[in-house]
């Protein structure tokens, strides 16, 4: 090799260069890792940003309006001359539409999950499952259109006294939107139940229904509960359907035939209006947003916890 003809200086120079190249490469590797790490941290910054924004705007609000008034006053009229800042009507409105949605989506979603996991032949399952997912991909503003212009006129023929804007249509349509969320998460849970459990039950003479109801569903219960909780969180945060079809009237009622206002619809209402930024009236949307954020955060964390615990059981 040419090594013998090269002087020692040349050899050292080459070695030094190789060393430098390796060091540069190492630095480059570190830089890349730092950039990637920063990208992953964006999610942490986002959460911090949300908390900071809500706090910065909500704190001056709560300096003017006491927390007790906010939580107990039965009227919400921050945009009127006679101002009341009781969030109860908005919270009750939100729970009303969500309860209607869940009353539809929980049984239908769970039944679909049981059918897909326990009954459907694999070819039927391969068609039905993605078809159901389409429901989750439809923009919510389209559901809002459907609730106001199809569901409400239809229900008006059956239910006397149904107002044009009402919690019932909005809730039912929202329920349809949420079905795939429940069915696909519940089905994952049902599917994960070991076949040996089913076989044991069949061997004891159980019918398919008995296996599903007494063995598989109890075994998958935590996953099913988690899917219900996530569905509730989604229903509470859903905006466009209720903004279009449920109304903008914050009254304290549990009658689903009447127009109400949800927390999300109120934020939309103020955003569309001409309330100046920085006023007490405008800050209400951050106070409402804070309540909305804390509610959904609690539900999401609960669901994540349940899902993780249940995963460990079957590993």
């Amino acid at each position: 090799m040419g090594l013998t003809t090269r002087s020692m200086a040349e050899v050292y120079a080459a070695r030094f260069q190789r060393g430098m190249a390796a060091r540069w490469r190492e630095l480059g590797e570190l830089a890349i890792q730092a950039v990637l790490f920063f990208a992953a941290m964006v999610s942490v910054f986002t959460t911090m940003g949300i908390v900071a924004v809500l706090a910065v705007e909500a704190i001056p609000f709560f300096q003017r309006v006491s927390l007790i008034e906010f939580l107990t006053d039965p009227q919400w009229t921050p945009l009127f001359a006679q101002k009341h800042f009781g969030i109860m009507p908005l919270v009750v409105g939100t729970f009303l539409t969500s309860a209607v949605a869940l009353a539809l989506a929980m049984p239908v979603g769970l039944l679909s999950a049981v059918y897909l996991s326990e009954y459907a032949p694999s070819r039927v399952r391969a068609i039905l499952k993605p078809a159901l997912e389409v429901l989750a991909g439809i923009p919510t503003v389209v559901y809002g259109y459907f609730a106001l212009l199809f569901v409400t006129p239809l229900l008006k023929r059956i239910i006397p006294g149904l107002e044009t804007f009402n919690a019932l249509s909005a809730g039912l349509t929202m329920g349809v939107m949420i079905i795939p969320l429940i069915s696909s998460l519940s089905e994952d849970a049902l599917y994960a139940v070991p076949t040996s459990l089913r076989e044991a039950a069949y061997a004891l003479g159980a019918t398919r229904l008995e296996v599903a109801v007494r063995v598989v569903i109890p075994a998958a219960l935590s996953g099913i509960v988690a899917s219900f909780i996530l569905a509730a969180s989604r229903a509470i945060g859903e905006t466009m359907i209720v903004a279009i079809a449920a109304g903008q009237r914050p009254i304290l009622t549990l009658d689903p035939r009447r127009a109400i206002e949800t927390m999300t619809a109120y934020i939309v209402q103020v955003s569309l209006g001409d309330v100046p930024h920085g006023t007490l009236e405008f800050r209400t949307i951050f106070a409402v947003g804070l309540v909305l954020f804390l509610l959904t955060l609690a539900l999401n964390l609960l669901a994540i916890r349940i899902i993780e615990r249940y995963r460990e059981v079957y590993r």
Partner: protein
Amino acid sequence: MERRRRREIVGRVFEWIALGATLFGLVVLALLLFDVARRGLGVLSWSFLTRYPSRFPEQAGIRSALLGTLWVMGLTALFAVPLGVAAAIYLEEYAPRNRLTRLIELNINNLAGVPSIIYGLLGLELFVRSLRLERSILAGALTLSLLILPILITASREALRAVPMSLREAAFALGATRWQVIRHQVLPVAFPGILTGMILALSRAIGESAPLITIGALTFIAFDPRGPLDPFTVLPIQIFNWVSRPQAGFHTRAAGAILVLLTVLLSMNSLAIYLRNRLQRRYRW
């Protein structure tokens, strides 16, 4: 024997009920599509696509909404995709199993469940106010980028995880650095999956209206947006605006705009499926 028969009949009835529940959602979907088509097909025309909104329903079109949607989606993809893929690469290929990684993962899981309107409040204070971007396309795209980031990260992580470990080990054995392994071995194989996730995340963003209403996107725009700092509207907001009006003429316009929106969504999803099937065939192991 009699009891056994009864149990089996109950089981059969239950099976039909469960099938009915499964089909219920699909029937509603069919009704929805039928209603939109019945009302909206009539307004679809070239002038509907190229005219600005108007006070008169028969003259109103979706030109500015369509252009706004294109602008916002383009910028959202530009911001969110590199960020999401980078975060996914870090979490799959670099992250040590420690408390910080756990915190990041919990954050992503939780952010996926934060209502979209909360992102609107964040965008309003951070991008519109603090960064003084006003009610611009840029502010909207940044807000939507944060919104779809969790979806993008999750989808990209799944694509990266599906790449066999042996491929990485072979490259490491040849002396490649970590980034060389990722850049030349892992990313090309994971690319179809990442691409599919990207299109699905964007199709979520394209239908969003609540966060954009919150940051102050306008509902009436009678000019073409020319740059990222211009005010804008998007298709879902235009639809919301038309649905909210009392006149039936605007309702048919809303149905027409929904047909356009659903067509865009359908083509995006078909493209995702097509690309995945086409690109996946190149790698076999």
